[in-house]
Structures are given as structure tokens and as C-alpha cells.
Point group: D3
Chain length 310, copies 6
Amino acid sequence: MRQIKVFSGSSHPALAEEICRYLGVPLSPSVHRRFSNDNLYIQLRESVREHDVYIVQTFSPPVQDHVFELLMMVDAARDASASRVTAVVPYYSYARSDKKDEPRISIAGRLVADLFKTAGVSRLLTMDLHSAQVHGFFSVPVDHLTAQPVLASHFGERELANTIVVTPDIGNAKRASQLARKLGVPLAAGNKRRVSDDRVEIDDIVGNVAGKHAIVFDDEIANAGTICETTNLLRKRGVTGITVACTHGVFSGQAIKRLSTLDIDEIIAANTVPIGPEKQLVNLTTLSVAPIFGEAIRRINLGESVSAIF
Amino acid sequence: MRQIKVFSGSSHPALAEEICRYLGVPLSPSVHRRFSNDNLYIQLRESVREHDVYIVQTFSPPVQDHVFELLMMVDAARDASASRVTAVVPYYSYARSDKKDEPRISIAGRLVADLFKTAGVSRLLTMDLHSAQVHGFFSVPVDHLTAQPVLASHFGERELANTIVVTPDIGNAKRASQLARKLGVPLAAGNKRRVSDDRVEIDDIVGNVAGKHAIVFDDEIANAGTICETTNLLRKRGVTGITVACTHGVFSGQAIKRLSTLDIDEIIAANTVPIGPEKQLVNLTTLSVAPIFGEAIRRINLGESVSAIF
Amino acid sequence: MRQIKVFSGSSHPALAEEICRYLGVPLSPSVHRRFSNDNLYIQLRESVREHDVYIVQTFSPPVQDHVFELLMMVDAARDASASRVTAVVPYYSYARSDKKDEPRISIAGRLVADLFKTAGVSRLLTMDLHSAQVHGFFSVPVDHLTAQPVLASHFGERELANTIVVTPDIGNAKRASQLARKLGVPLAAGNKRRVSDDRVEIDDIVGNVAGKHAIVFDDEIANAGTICETTNLLRKRGVTGITVACTHGVFSGQAIKRLSTLDIDEIIAANTVPIGPEKQLVNLTTLSVAPIFGEAIRRINLGESVSAIF
Amino acid sequence: MRQIKVFSGSSHPALAEEICRYLGVPLSPSVHRRFSNDNLYIQLRESVREHDVYIVQTFSPPVQDHVFELLMMVDAARDASASRVTAVVPYYSYARSDKKDEPRISIAGRLVADLFKTAGVSRLLTMDLHSAQVHGFFSVPVDHLTAQPVLASHFGERELANTIVVTPDIGNAKRASQLARKLGVPLAAGNKRRVSDDRVEIDDIVGNVAGKHAIVFDDEIANAGTICETTNLLRKRGVTGITVACTHGVFSGQAIKRLSTLDIDEIIAANTVPIGPEKQLVNLTTLSVAPIFGEAIRRINLGESVSAIF
Amino acid sequence: MRQIKVFSGSSHPALAEEICRYLGVPLSPSVHRRFSNDNLYIQLRESVREHDVYIVQTFSPPVQDHVFELLMMVDAARDASASRVTAVVPYYSYARSDKKDEPRISIAGRLVADLFKTAGVSRLLTMDLHSAQVHGFFSVPVDHLTAQPVLASHFGERELANTIVVTPDIGNAKRASQLARKLGVPLAAGNKRRVSDDRVEIDDIVGNVAGKHAIVFDDEIANAGTICETTNLLRKRGVTGITVACTHGVFSGQAIKRLSTLDIDEIIAANTVPIGPEKQLVNLTTLSVAPIFGEAIRRINLGESVSAIF
Amino acid sequence: MRQIKVFSGSSHPALAEEICRYLGVPLSPSVHRRFSNDNLYIQLRESVREHDVYIVQTFSPPVQDHVFELLMMVDAARDASASRVTAVVPYYSYARSDKKDEPRISIAGRLVADLFKTAGVSRLLTMDLHSAQVHGFFSVPVDHLTAQPVLASHFGERELANTIVVTPDIGNAKRASQLARKLGVPLAAGNKRRVSDDRVEIDDIVGNVAGKHAIVFDDEIANAGTICETTNLLRKRGVTGITVACTHGVFSGQAIKRLSTLDIDEIIAANTVPIGPEKQLVNLTTLSVAPIFGEAIRRINLGESVSAIF
């Protein structure tokens, strides 16, 4: 079997290290610099010839620099004769740009998928894409992992008798509906509407939430505006408690400030994006997905089924 | 400006004719045969050199023959030096195969999009794709039309005071939610679950429907199994009347038999797929989308904005 | 060496089973269904990750469904990370559409070859293409097998002193000429002319056939119209007996009816397409090419020469 | 309409000039040199920006230099922003490499077709490809012209009562059979066999030629070995006279020497390759195809049907 | 002729406005935003259907955001059916990454060129690429403009009797040598060596500079480290005065601080990158290249020769 | 590991043999012929299925035949199922066509790189490309070797106290500057100017050469015109002796005649192109690079670092 080499982009070295520990291989060194004209420079510092290369890079801010750095690392690995180059992108931010809801915009989720191919990505390993259809944007094989088992097992240890899963957006309810079914609890949905560029409004909650503990579930939390609206409305509708859960805890802009002032029992996020010390709210629980990525890499390398993990 | 030539595949010549009438051009003749070994044969019977060619083919059964015939017509037009070949596919059936919800299946919506490109399609003109993300599967420009204005104006002439829009599947509620907002009425959603290959179950209706007239809205009705489940449950929940509406009235298998036995006030479908005489239920209303396609073709040919139609 | 996995499309499972027996591997299971809107659905039911995958699908009627099913199986295998996907197409029906003898038609033999590439076929294994040039339509490696050794060894056991090989079409005489040379007998040729879509006429037989036993040889027999014309003319020219031989016994439309009424000593066909019980004429001999395909697959997998088989 | 610019490679400027006279446009100047390391150098000496460019280059010896020069001229025209670049290749020599009749050779007819695409050829204009299937090797539109009308009208002025068309190779008889049908005369065929690299043998003539005037017809005459063998055998079989006709009069190697010693009434060739003064046999008639190419270019530029020429 | 539409990315709107004034067309509006997860969002606010679209974006810092924004604008224009999309990139920063001088790095100049193609760029309009070979990295037509006429005419008004052109790097002296020849003055060259990531050393000046006025010429000045080294060494070698000239005045990092302390008579730069008010050194002269870009666009649109500008 | 098979084109079999000796493998046989119409014909005479194939072909005159032959051998190897096909091109002549210094020419260095890709080259192994940027023209991995270690070690055994390296062209001085640095001696440069198609002029020598021994170094010597000019000028400037060195000793046209009349102490060339017996000047030393190529192939096959050679 071809030997694994794991490199890390500059976005989330801690996760890359944790994946390497799972695999029992050292993280291969690389250089990341910026020329004086702001061009990026990268160098892989170990021979990758005929190796099975994995490059871990999540699309946390600054997103464009991180995307670009990944493309350059892939290009370098390919030209240096790696036998296979797998992009490991725990959070593929551009999955949110997945449709043309206004004229003359870019479906950037597809555009970036095509850029991956151009740079020479052999395959993609990613997690909880904003919509399942984004898988189809890629022309290379994709292993689409999910943090749901980690989240479900976290909730599974609790009393769920009077719980309801709430998705803030009825237009994107698939994943919340799966979680609800897995936990054996009912589902409610916010009727979300975007009123301006940076403001959404939840018109209504479809379904009965009064007297229940609500698990508000979304795939990603960025500036937490939607979460604010939803939790406020849930409180008005008489919920007894609120847990907020997501896979991708981006927590950008006003997010931390907003979340710290809301009456939320617990905030749960996977570690697909780095959550710096300034974002460590007291009610925040971070769940590691490194073992899932590590196991998937192990199986890809050995030619074993990845879908069998779930 | 380059002159328009419109050809029709064998799936829906009536619609092609109607589009041609809107445009004021004759439908160009073509031959469609089958060799004795079942290979398809097509021939365009008019020169297309340097013309702006439109080929109208909907993906009604037999779907594979119709897809194939379209690919061959496009290939023939391209090799015969058409300056541009637009595939006009009112019902793109494979949009339903848009994600990988089981291991080792094909995301055929993307596969067929790639086949289009290979055959030489310059652009696609289609309507109400099963999910908006399927737009991103194509690597050629897509004009994604919608029958919503036609449906909305049909409903707009009615009394809607006590009406609610119902989507059978909370996992695919975006379009119904748009219709509800456009009509100014609330939204409810079925919690749909697939129990076996050919049977779905609606666990529950999220939202309060009692005492209301329900407009059950889906993008497509095939064997009508989902519609049956939904209307039965709605009756149990006390609706006062039911209207069923869809863009794509495939009405295959048991559909006509099932629909004729259900207590439905009106069934509404656009004419994106041909609805034969044996399917003409007394409560069926067919709304023509030929003017929308005709107008889009006119604007594409003249280089005017298509999004301005809506 | 990478492990072989053989899957079968729904066209000819018996041949796939026979090939598997030759190889000593089990046929891997797969699911083939049709959605209610007539979309095809397929699923490979075993992990193919890093395996050497072979998908056996012949292009017997319904041809388009079989082509499509193959493309989807290939796409699924590729996205499921097969290390190589070989399409095994014993009868590539579209090889007949290999030239542009009328304006504005599709050279579908090339189009389908391009579709194969788009779907992700790594290589093709096929037999007795209608013309040798069709090999050049493919941009993936092709192993082009022939049933001639099987036919020749069948004839080789007979007395051939007074025999002549006859090709119905002097415009496509290469293969018959090779067979004649291999058997050490002379060659005659029909001067075939297509008079309408479904009727050919043999103007004349070029060469002297009187008093000889004629082996009428064609690569494929579909509705047997050409064979009828040829045998009738041969009888007029005084042949003493007639054997009809082909690789691909499609036997569609009027074929069986026609052949059963002709005065033919023996009809010989390979099993590249399934010949159902309703087609089992008393004078029909079917020769199996499964060992040739099995041996080719074995050699492809082991990296041994395939041309050395012949 | 976009303005035509015609350039000539260095293979056949006389034909390019003649085509330009037909079109009433001047031949655009270009430079063709060779660097001291034998690299080719070409420069187009007139702006081609947004023009409809035609580059006339036939594949006469030195073939590889001529192919290469064409690729470079196409590349230069494309990068200089020509709106369309049509390669005009009257004799596409590599059409002869159209199948894999031995293991591990290149189907160079397809390879060169792919090189055309890579260099940026928009379309191909060519004549009498060795086999009709070679059309399918190209992934750009092809207008495949034929010199048959010119040949047929040349023969049409003669007495044909006792004439027969003879193809030297029964394995490639399609075109001769078409000519025979057009002239209303019978067809005979040589049973050609290649015995070594540079020697063929005609085993036999299939069909009765005694007492007839034979028109030996082939698409191309190179070293005239096949023609020698055929005419010798025809004489033995008692023909009363022999005319030799071809589209592509390459006349290489021993050809002129051989042809001058044979008892042939007339040798007819189109001017798709230049026939130098040293090759002007007394019984040679050259027929110009410049009007056919000129008319095709005129129609391509104006967007009129090319197939209507024939 | 197709109508021009010019859009501007967010890097250098002033230059885009100036180009539009030259062309006499208004700058078309577009929206550039950032989602809360740092994804970019762009929208073209005018229909581009069948228009000849130009998108002006220079690669000044933040480079990666600007590259990405350009790719998205191109993608949006293409999917919105622009007939042609020309990327106007006055400063293509990644031209500096044009070779592999260390193992396992990316030749990013080629990578970005490929990304352009993937996004749908029809052609590129750029200026003074770091090396002329970078033109060959692009697979779309490139019009490679130069600021040399503007620089030369600026110097042409001066007394040059005792002047010498100096290139800091003998390994990249082509352009300086052309300028010297154009001005009719001699050339000297620094023997530049990179000692560490951010420090270069000029070992020596090849050529005699004593007693002369030196025009130090480079294609780009970023942090001005090379210029510092060069001018210091020139002073030691006895030059009487120093003028510094470049096309791309990036002036990043320590550049302004360094340049303000050096004894330089004049600093000259084109306006290919924006030079903010904080960078307006007293001895800085900015020369506009907007007329060159405007004229090139005018000619591209009209199909006139661009090389004729120079 | 996959087994190596080395084939040789017809350009330089001696080098191929020497590389095979280094590797300890036999040179695999192949056939190279020319059809009577001047088409090339090649056949690989050993199975390459699943082998690691290397094809050695240098681009010496006749260049176009050699390029073509290589493309055909690659195509044949790919279609015969080689697992990887590496083109070994010691002298890539078209690297000289690396920029667009006149309008409407072809950057043939890029064009040929694209042709390689089309033919199916998996990777390129080459040496001392005319400019380092040409590496970026290839879209397959390139291992770019250099003969500098061989040259440097040849000079390293000499007394270099009073030596200077001279590049004839200051516009292409990078490599000479590296050699000078490696030998620890100063650098001078000719100010080369092309006055006509086949004549260059060296205006001046930048740097002080009087009283020194000059090593005139260029990557390639073709007709030796530049060398003549340079050595004549050096003599005028008072050098004490002259050594001429290059990687690629093409020695075409007047080269041998010119070099034999010049007062040169020693001429040094690597064996990247064959130097026939008629070119064996008495002062010529040929240095073999076969061990470098052999070692690179060994490492590529074993998956070891190639850059570690240098």
C-alpha cells in the first residue's frame, strides 16, 4: 500500500495534528509565506513522490487565502508526483453559494469545485455540506462525512422525553429532520426570510413548541443572526429551554457577543473550524471530529469502505 | 441577428408547436426512426449552418430514449455547424437524482448534465428543477424558468382568505414556501419518510391545517403516492377542501387511478409533459407554459434579459 | 494485484455469470430499478474502493436503457473510488452509426464513445465492432476482441473442399475476406444497396458461387432482411447449400420468422447478445465467447498481453 | 458577415491561389522559415482579429513538417483572435492509419485529429478520406467533400458501354462501388493481401472482367505498387484497356517509374496534392478541385448548406 | 458589433473609470460584499446577455481576494450569457511565480492562468508580465501590453547624453535592455542573489556606471529591498544621479519608508496598481496607462489590430 | 513495483542504450518505418500492459519527424495499457519558442507541450530548458534535470584563478550566472541583438574581460553564429583564452565549419543530441548525461526524490 503523507494548510493545524495522532503518522512539514507583493508562497518540505497525500485545510476566514493556499499545495503535490492528492476540507464554506437566487451571481460552490479539479485534486473529504446536492458539484470522488453521529451520541446521553428539534429555516430542513428522527423526537421549523443583506427574519414557527426543550440545529453558525431570531421567537412561544447545535461553529462578526447575551443552556459545535480562546463561551461544548476524519483517511488509504463508518 | 430554428424531439411535439406559434416561426422538420437493432436514428431535415438552434425535448417516459434522442439531435446540429444549440427541456426528470443518499449510486442529475456538455449543448432552458442546486450541475449557461407566475395568477383569481399551502415534504419546502409567501397565506409541511422503494409515509403534518382549504403543492407528480398519503392525512386533520398543484404532471403508473378516487377539488398541472387523453381527469386543469418558453427563446435570441420576465 | 469485481447490467446476466465462472469469482450484486417517473436507478451493493471493476453490459434492446444503465453504473463505481472501471460491451450496437452518409445525422458511434469517457470509463472491452475504424472513436484504451477463432474452429472441423465465403455487402468485406483466407476458401460478395429505410437490395453477386456451399458471413444479423436477399440470390446462382454465420445474433423484428422459412443448413451466432427461448430455431448453433472475455479480463487484471490470445 | 482571410502553408500554394481566385480574395501573406536547430517558424503577416480564417495545407511529403506547420499556423491565428479557424486539408494522409490491425501501433488518424483540436482548429474541410469512418475521429465539425462529381463528369463524356469499375481491394470497395453505380457499370474487386511492409499481392479478381475496359479506381496512389499488381492481373484476365483514376495522386517513390512502364490508357488524378513537373506523365490528366473547395468556403462563410453542393 | 460593458472589481475602480472615460461608455454597476462566513459575494447589476464584457481587476493586495473576486465575476458573466468575457488585469502579480527554483513549490503563474480558463475567461488583457514566457501559461488569447512607450516618451523629453540604464538583476535583463536600446544609452546589470526569504544582495554591478546618471529599471517595485541594494551600490560606484522607474508600483511593506530615505532624483511608476495618498512621495511621478488599455479594448471590440498600437 | 520498459525513438538510440545500461534493463524493441505516402509508422514490439514505460527521444533534426514519432509512440503505449508513459526528451528544441516577440506567431513551446498531453504523456523528463519558465508550459509533471553538475565538475578540475564566465546574451543570463557562482568566478555578458532572421550582432560586452580566460556558456549551440560573434568580440577585448561550453550541441548548418576556424581552446557539450562522426572536432569534449537520466528514471520508478540528485 502507498504510504500516507498528511500536510496542513495554515487554517487549522490543531485539527491536522489531531488527525495525524489518530493515524499514528507525523504531520509532514510545509512552508507558508507571503511575498512582499502579497502573493502566497508554499513549499512542501518532504518528498511526496508516489505517496498518498492528504492536505488538511478548512475554509475559515480569511477564506480566499485558505482556498488559494490549498490549491497551490495541491498543485505542488501533483507536480511533485504524488500518486493521489486528497483535499481534506472539514468546512467547505462555499457550499452556501449553491444556487442562483438572484440574476448574474456566481454559483461559487460549483466554481470552487471546478477550481479544485483544475489544481489537480484527486478526491475530496469533507463534512456536512450546506446542502446534499453540493456533492454533485464535484467532478472528483467525494467522501461526504457527517458529524451527526457525534452530535447524536452527545444528545443520546440525555433525557429527551420532552424535547423537539427546531430548524430555523423550513427551506433547509432535511438535516434537522434526520436528527429528529434519529433522536426519536418531533420537528418544528422556522419560516425564515431574508429581509436585507445582513438581516433575516423568522416570520413564524411551524409546529408546536410550547412547553418543550428546543434543540435548535443548523449546519453552520456564522454571525448568529438567525440563531438570535429563532431563540427569541421560541422563547415567545413558550419553550422551557434551548440548546443550540451546529457542525460548523464559524462564530464570526457579532456572533460571540450575541450568543453570550442569549438565554441558551448549551451551545454545541464540532471542531471543523478553529474556535479561538476569545470565543470560548462558558456554555460552549466542542466535539472533535478528528477521529471521523482519521478513520476515513485510514480506510481510503487501505481501500476499505468509508460509508461503513456510519 | 442569427435566425432561429426550432426542432422537436419525439417527446412533446405539441408543446414545440405551441412555442413556435408564439415565436411566429415554423417548426423545422426532423426524422426520428429506430434501426432494426433498436439503435435510434435522427436526421435534421433543414440546414442549420450558422443558425440559432433550439431543440425541444421533455424527459417524459420513455425517459432514456428521449434523453438519447436529444443528445443525438444536439450532436447532429453541432456537426452541421449550428452557431448555437440550446436544449429546451421543460421537465428535466433526472433533477430528482441530485444527491447521494445511499452509497454507490450515481448522482444522475450531474451525470446527464455532463452528457449534455459532451454532446455539444451550448445552453439549457428548463423549468422548475426539483432542487435549485441542480442548476449548479451544468457547466453550460442555464436559464431556469418557473411556472410559479402561471400558477400564482391562476390562484390569484380566487378567494384565498382561509387557505394554506402544504408541501408534502418538509425536506424540500423551499418552493412551496415561496408560493405561500406570494399568495400571502401560511405554510404547513408533511414530514415525509421513504419506507421502501415504492412507498413513502407521511408521519405528520407540521403546522395547523384544520378548517382550512389546502393547496398541496409539489414540483412533480409521478405515481401520486405522496399526494395520496398527504391528502388522506390532511382530511384526518380537518381541512375543508384540497387543491393539488404541480409543475410537472407526469401521472405515471397508478397515478390516474389513485387521483380519480381521491376527494380533491381541483388538480392543476403545467404542460411541461404531455398529458394524454386517457389522463384527462374531470377535475384536471392544464396551464400552458409555452408563452414563457417562447418569450425566453425570443429574448435569448435577441440578447435581452431573461430574468426580466419574472 | 488489485482484486477483480464483476458487475452485470440488466442486459445479459447469463453471459456475466459465465464470465465469472471462467474467472472463478462471484458476480457482485447490484440493484436495477426504475423510478415512477421512468428515471433509472442503480446501486452497486458491494464496496468497490480501490478494486479493478468490470461491468458487463451488452447493447441489446432496449438499447438506450442499457447504454444509460451502463453509464450510471460506471459513474457510481468511479465516485465510489474504484481504481479502474472497464466497460465490457460484447455487442456495441452503435458501431453501425459510424459515418455520415446523409447530411445532419449524428455519428452516434463516436457520440456514445464520448459519453463513455464522460461517465468515467477507464477502458473498453468489446468484440467484432461493425467496422475496425470504430476503435478510433474511443479516447480510452480499447481491447477489441473477435469471435473469429471460435467460428473458424467450428468450421475447421468440417469438410471445406467446395466451400465459398460470401459477404452480403462488398462495401464491408474486410472481415469476410479474413475468414475466407483463414479457412483457405475463396470469397464472393453481394453488391448491396439500400433502397429505403427498411429494405436493402442485393443487385448482384460478384464472384462465382455455382455448385458451392456458401458460408454467408456478417458481423450482425438484426431483422435478417439482408440475409434473406442474399440467400435467395445465392440459390438462384446455384449454390448447393447455405450456412449463415454472425457474431452478433440480434434477431429482432421479423428475423426469426424469416430465418425459419429460408432453406438454410445451419445458423451460427456467438452469445454476445442474449437469444431468448422464443428464438431457438432448430438449426441455430450458439457459440460461447465467455471464455474469450474471461481470459481477456484475467490478462488485463494481471497486466499480461491480450493480443497474445489471438 | 465576417470577412474571409485565406492563408497557405508551404505544401501547396498553387491550390491555395486557385481557391482564392474562385473566392475573389487575395491570398494573405505568411512567413515560413526554419530555425538553425530545425524548429519551424511561421508568422501570419496580416491581422486576423475577428476574421473567418482558412488555412490551406495538404499533407504531401514531407508530411510531418506540413502537419506541424499547420498546427502552428492555427495556434497563431487563434491566439491572434481569429473568430474561427478552418483547416483546409485536401489530402489528409493520416486517414490511412485508421485502425489497429497490429498490436501496439497508433491509430494516427485519430491522434492527428486530436492534435488539430488541441491547436485550436474550429472546423475541418477535407476531401475523400481513406475511409468514411475517419470523419468520426474529429471532435470539431467536418465538411467532407468528394472529388467524385469531377471524376464522374470526366468519365461521363465517354462511351461506357463495355466498361467495368475495378477496386484493387475488396476490403475497401465502398467508394468504387458508388462510382460504378453512378456510371451505371458493373464492379469487380481485387482480393488484396499485404505480404510484407512494402509489397502487396492481389490474389485474385472477384468478378468477370474479360473483354471489358477497366477503370481501376482507388482513393490514393502513392508508390503505385497496388496499381501495378492490379493492372498486371487485369491484363492476364483479358481486359481490353485500362484507365487508372484516383483522388489523391501522391506518386511517391517508384510510382512514376512504374506507371510509365505500364500499359495504361489514361491516368486521372485530382489536384489535392501538388504534382511536380518531373511527374507529368504524358497520359496523366489532372482535374482541379479548387472550385469545390472555393464554393464550400464561400458557403461556410455565408452560412449556406455545403451538402447542397453535391 | 457587440456592445461593450465594462465592470470593475474592487481593486482599482479609479483605473476602470479612467478606461471608461477613454471609451466613452459608463462603468457598469456591480455589488461586492462579504458574507458573515467571509465568503465573497458579487453581483453584476446590468444584463450582459450577448455583450462584449470587460472586467477590470488588478492584483494588488489583498491579492487572493482580488483574484477570487475576478473569477466569480467572470463566472457570473459567463452564466449570464455574455458573448465574450475579457479579464483586464493590469498587474498580474502571480507572473513572478513563473518557475520551479525549489522543489515542491507551485508555479502559481500557470496555476492561476488555468483557474482563469476554468472560470470562463475568454481572453486576457494585461501589461508587462514579469517574464515574457508567462504569456505561454495561458490557454486563452492574451493581449500583452507594455508601458514602455509611456516610460520612453517620459524620458525622451530629457537630456540623456550621460545616462545608463541599470537592471538590478542580470538574470532578468531583457526588458531593461530593450529600454536602453530604445533610449540609445548603454546598459549595466546588478548581479542579484537571494540570500534569504526576504533579503537579496547585489554582489556586483556588471558594466561601468561611474560618472553617469543611472535609470534603475525594474518591472515591479514591491518592498523596494532590491532598489535599496542597487542604489546604494550605484552610489559607491560613483553615479551622478539616480532615477528609479517601474511599471508596477506596488510599494508594499517598508517600501515607502525606504524610498523616502534614499537619494533618488525621481521615482516613476505607471498606475497599474492604485497608489494611495499615504504613498505619494514628493519625487513620485505616476504615468497613466488607461489610454493604452482603453485603446486596446476599443480595438479588440472592433476587431482591429492591437499590436499596431505599439 | 511496476517494471520499467525503455523504448527509443529513432533520434538518439545510443543515448537510450547508455541509459538502459545504467538501469540494467534491455532496450525494448520497436519498429519505425515510413509509408510510401510519407506517413510515419511505429510499433512497440513488446507488451507494455501495466508497465512503467519510458520513451527516449531527443528533438534533433529532423525535429518534426522526431516530435511526431514520439507522439505516436506515446499514443501506442497508452492505448496498449501502459500504466504510465514518461517522455524522456533530453533536448526539447521548442523551448526556444517561448514567447511572443512578434505578432501572430505561435508560442510553439507551449503548443508542443499541449500536444504531449493530448497524445497521453504522463510525465516529462527533460534537461536544461532554454528558459526555466518553459516548465510551466506543461500540464503534466516535469522533472527538469540539468547538466550543470557534469559541466561544473569538468571545470572543477582546472585552475580557475583568472577565469570569467561569459554569457552571449544579457537577456538570458540566469544560467551562466549560476555557473559563475558555482565556479566562484565573475560574470560578463554580451549585449546580443538579432539583426535579421539568420544573423545576430553582439553590440558590446558588459563587464571587464581583458586578461582573463573566458568560458563562453550557452544552453545550446546550433549554427554557432552567436558563438562566432562573441568569441571575436572577446578576442578584441583582450581575453587570454576561450572555452566554449553548452548543454545541447546541435552543431547544425555552418556550425562545424565556423567552430573549426575559431581560436577556441576547448568546446564542451553534453550528449543530449547525437554528434555524428563528421562533427568530431579535435577540440571537442563530449560529456555524458546518461547517468543523470538513468538515475532519474530509477528514482521515478522507485518513488524516490529526483531533486535529491542535485
